[in-house]
Amino acid sequence: MAWVTMTSGQVADASDMNERFNFLCGGTRLPRSSSGVDFTSTTGVYDLGSDSARWNDVWTNNINLDGSVSSASNTIWGLISEVTLSATASSIEFTSLTGDTYTSMMIYARMNVDTKSNQFMIFNGDSAANYGRQFIYGQSTSVASGRNTGLVHMQVGLVATTTVRLTGCRIMAHTKSGHERSLIVHTYGGASGTTIYRDIEWVYLWNDTANTITSLKIYTDAGNFETGTSIKLWGRK
């Protein structure tokens, strides 16, 4: 099937007309060039609808996206960024964030560390004494609780021995400015085989009420994150 440009003043061949309609109606709808000559397929150039001229419903079995998902009122959880280490590193940082746009963020982290260590998180590079927490944890049959104020970071991971070096967490954070920022963190510390060393629930406050969150950094206080360590950051979009 070829596109044939019609010339003014000439009689159109019926087969050429048919091919045009095959272009228009047949098979898969591809975004095509606007050259008016061959209407070749394009990628990442054209939209379906516009901000002020929208399709009503899209009925499709699958949606395959290469870029972003957004909605008019932040109705869905979308992946902001994902880092999986291909080489050891002492920290993973997400930058160019807009905490006031997302208003809420979720983080899922699975961290392998090469030595006994603790893993911490800070916002906007703030390592002053602006964090506080209350926690409760279970370790075998023991339960313990504690409160700390004036912390310089928020602990989110724990590698308690040199041999059991896997830890992970799920974090739900209220990131909108105007009040203290709040976080709920659920952490498993030191997992190996069928043994979890400790289950910890921490809740945190960051007392900065004014600054939009633009970055968050997760780092280890000893050793390095190993290859395969993965952190996923989600936001309401």
Partner: protein, 240 residues
Amino acid sequence: MTWHTIANGNVMDNSDFNDNMDHVFSGSRLPLDSAGTAFGSTDSAFDLGSDSFRHRTLYCDNLQVDSSYTTDDKKLWILETKTELTDTASSIEFTGLNGDGAIEYVAIGYGIENTATNFVLNVIFNGDSAANYGSQELRGQGAGASAARNTARSSLNFMWSAATTTTNKLFSYMHMFLKTGSERNTLNLFMGGETTYVWRIASESGIWKNTADTITSIKFYDSSGNGLATGTTIYLFKRA
């Protein structure tokens, strides 16, 4: 580029036909009206595909949706509704729900005490404030860890604070299984504090013994009498 209407009985100029094809093919695909004359852009009038005639896969760089999303097997978590208080209030209620349709909901709450006194925000389903709820709690407050079980409660905790010297900010994450056929269950983790002082962390598992009624409303209400402050926000997500 203009649209040329083809008149019956006339010979169509090929350049007019080219213009018409350019109209159809060029640039972004906008939903055009079907008048057959101007083909002006329309908004929210036409669908791509239908329930029984679907495209196979939608490929695009970005997806921008103004209203709702659905999947056949409820594969997405979508914001059902949210309330952010612009004035003090005693409750936030979400109505028009279909617990059997969504099956699971997640409520994320950010609460602000109205005064530096105690603050208790409870949750009930379908307006049921009878003794039909139960809970098991695990609490950490300072160095004190405690646990408690309560039966025949008239509500479940969503977030609360008994601190009387601070104007606490509270944060709660509650996952709810709300389908009929068995008791409804909740898992909740919440906290409260101010500046860098966190007063308490609490984990609560809850149950509502009603097995029959489809959940149509969830009400979060202040039982302390001190009210919810401006800025208090509750998001309700559902599987869709």
